[in-house]
């Protein structure tokens, strides 16, 4: 990648964008599109769901970015070497996002902007304006990848604006695992993930986010599915001072299926906001949403889940299940599941719970000789298991369990 910029500008403003473009050039996103996006970021309000009030520590409508170092110089580690022999042999493209438009124009144009619309979205606009890192993956039609593709983003001292564009041709099949890390002091990660899944294609996309406690993250993830396509997205939001994870999938053609899984565990003074939305826009589309959240210490969290079944989506089948576990008196989790149904002849279900570990479960484990603190950890880990078990690969599942175990062990009893 390019060398470090000579000076680091602070603030996410026009001067910073001028300097960025002067140094790096526009890359895969035209300069006018970036300036338009910056203008939208400055003008648009934060969405209602991301505002403060009612004792929330973070209010995205009042953020001050004037001190944020705007460039991420060498701030990202993209594991392009992870393009395995298998993937190369099968004609899969993985490249830096900034070169993707030049080097893979046809494939890039086929996917870019097809799932993401930043026009009405403040933070997606910010991510687009400053997009400085990222990955483009194109899996050609009919190709099945058996090994997962790995992407790693690591923020250091400056803001990171990653754009991840994944495109699967018709009947292609792939698994992508994205890891997000941030060093202590990394201020901001604001990115876009765009998933375009062709007819009959199958994509599993997993996110393992473990940024440092100083980092604010605002990730906008969008997917669009073709006919009979399948998407399984699984997000583990474990790190960050304030992590905002927003996912929306549009089932644009008949017969698609979206599985959305997310979990978070806010401890210390973390705040996590998760939004998921599945839009059934075509007949006989299915979706399943599973969210598990826990809070301890003074951790806070919010979950907004929406299932939208449009008028044409007859035969749709949707379920949304969201459970929250409170492990301390100071923790606070809000959960707002919703269904909007405009079609007849659909199946839709949603259920939500918020609660503490039950005394009956604890006593049962204790009566078997398991000490109370160990029993609490075991039960809390078990609480996440229905979400963890949906993540791809044994190795990733084991890592997530051990990351949760660490968080549980470090919590004050």
């Amino acid at each position: 990648m390019s060398a470090k910029p000579v000076t680091i500008l602070r603030g996410l403003n026009r001067a910073a964008l001028d300097a960025y473009l002067g140094h790096y050039g526009p890359g895969s996103i035209d300069a006018p599109a970036r300036y338009d996006a910056l203008a939208r970021f400055e003008e648009l309000p934060a969405r209602m769901s991301l505002r403060g009030g009612r004792g929330w520590k973070h209010d995205l409508s009042k953020l001050d970015f004037s001190d944020v170092p705007a460039f991420a110089a060498e701030a990202v580690e993209i594991s392009l070497e992870s393009l395995s022999v298998e993937a190369r042999h099968k004609g899969v493209t993985i490249d830096h996002f900034s070169h993707a438009r030049d080097r893979h124009r046809v494939a890039f144009e086929r996917a870019f902007g097809k799932a993401v619309d930043t026009r009405d979205d403040k933070f997606a606009s910010l991510a687009l304006a400053f997009a400085n890192q990222g990955v483009f993956i194109d899996v050609p039609a009919g190709v099945t990848l058996n090994e997962p593709l790995l992407i790693g983003y690591e923020a250091r001292e400056e803001a990171l604006f990653p754009y991840t564009l994944v495109s699967l041709g018709d009947a292609a099949s792939a698994t992508v695992i994205e890891r997000i890390a941030a060093a202590d002091g990394a201020p901001l990660i604001c990115g876009i993930v765009e998933l375009v899944v062709g007819d009959n294609a199958t994509l599993a996309y997993a996110v393992d986010q473990r940024a440092s406690e100083s980092t604010r993250l605002i990730l906008t993830r969008r997917a669009r599915l073709g006919k009979d396509a399948k998407l399984a997205i699984a997000c583990a939001e474990l790190g960050g001072m304030h992590a905002v994870s927003r996912f929306r999938a549009v089932e644009a053609a008949a017969g698609g299926r979206v599985e959305t899984v997310a979990f978070f565990f806010s401890d210390g003074s973390q705040h996590v906001d998760i939004e998921t939305e599945t839009i059934h826009a075509a007949p006989n589309t299915q979706s399943e949403t599973i969210v598990r959240s826990a809070g301890t210490g003074h951790g806070q969290g919010r979950y907004f889940g929406n299932i939208k079944i449009l008028a044409d989506a007859h035969g749709a089948d949707a379920s949304l299940r969201d459970d929250a576990l409170l492990l301390s008196a100071g923790a606070h989790i809000d959960s707002v599941p919703a269904l909007e149904i405009a079609a007849n002849d659909v199946k839709a279900f949603h259920g939500a719970t918020v609660g503490a570990i039950s005394e009956d479960e604890l006593f049962y484990a204790e009566s078997r000789g398991i000490a109370r603190a160990d029993a609490e950890r075991m039960i809390a880990l078990g609480f996440f298991e229905p979400a963890i078990s949906r993540f791809p690969t044994d190795a990733l599942r084991a890592e997530l369990r051990s990351a949760l175990g660490l968080k549980l062990r470090s919590r004050p009893v």
Partner: protein, 265 residues
């Protein structure tokens, strides 16, 4: 002084009244004396509401129950001052009438954690596996059972079989079986009975003492009780040999109630 056995003396207990409210009128156990010797089987029988489960929970240390008087010792060690896990480590086991479900925790993981807690480091993983498969087989249970979540979506029979599997794997010094026979069909009852008998005849279980709580005598067709006690209204009103169970089967609890009333009156 070290006295062998699970010894319950003058035990009075009731349900906690939430917060620190008054205890008057909440007493359920009104002075229980019972001694389960090593290697013996005691049956505690009584109608619903007589206080049998309260006794089980009070001995095991359930936080919703409060002991107001009396003592419980296990081979001389005071149990009432111990946290529930310490009571298990001392050698006590309670088979629950309504075992709690622990979603997300597999049966194998739960039992391994429990076994390591009560008997640290005594069983290498390969031997643990061999042992649990053997016990599963004896209970007519499939190996797939081990990867299911503890009691999550289990039928009544599966729950009780899991209790018996844990009993066999933990091999405690004293086991209280609270209504292990309730809600079982004939096959499940036989499997549970066979498992209990096998444990009684095994090296690990032959010196253990068992307190079998039940309101039907039918489990006693599968495991013979050396002593039978009848509990009414928080008291043990009659004790005898195995023939007492037959008497209850024949006459019900009303006859005993009448006898007690007559002797008091």
């Amino acid at each position: 002084m070290s006295e062998r056995g699970l010894v319950i003396a003058g035990l009075r207990a009731g349900v906690k009244n939430g917060a620190d409210g008054p205890k008057e009128g909440t007493e359920i156990l009104k002075g229980i004396d019972l001694r389960v010797e090593p290697g013996s089987v005691h049956a505690l029988m009584g109608p619903n509401g007589s206080g049998k489960s309260t006794l089980a929970f009070s001995v095991a240390g359930h936080p919703s129950y409060e002991v107001s008087a009396g003592s419980v010792t296990l081979d001389g060690e005071d149990l009432l001052g111990l946290a529930p896990d310490k009571r298990a480590k001392a050698g006590l086991f309670l088979s629950f009438q309504y075992p709690a479900a622990i979603p997300g925790v597999s049966v194998a993981n739960f039992i391994r954690t429990a076994r390591q807690s009560v008997r640290p480091d005594d069983l290498p993983p390969a031997k643990f596996r061999a042992m649990i498969f053997e016990k599963l087989d004896a209970l007519d249970m499939d190996a797939a059972f081990l990867s299911r979540y503890v009691n999550d979506g289990f039928s009544g029979g599966e729950k009780k079989r899991l209790e018996m599997l844990q009993l066999a794997m933990l091999a405690p010094k004293y086991a209280i079986l609270d209504e292990t026979d309730s809600g079982l069909d004939v096959d499940a009852l036989r499997a549970v009975g066979d498992s209990l008998r096998a444990l009684r005849e095994s090296d690990a279980g032959k010196d253990a003492g068992y307190l079998i709580i039940t309101h039907y005598p039918r489990i006693l067709q599968h495991i013979t009780a050396d002593h039978v006690h009848v509990m009414l209204d928080g008291r043990i009103v009659k004790s005898g040999g195995p023939e007492l169970a037959n008497e209850i089967e024949r006459d019900g609890y009303d006859k005993i109630r009448e006898q007690v009333a007559a002797s008091v009156g």
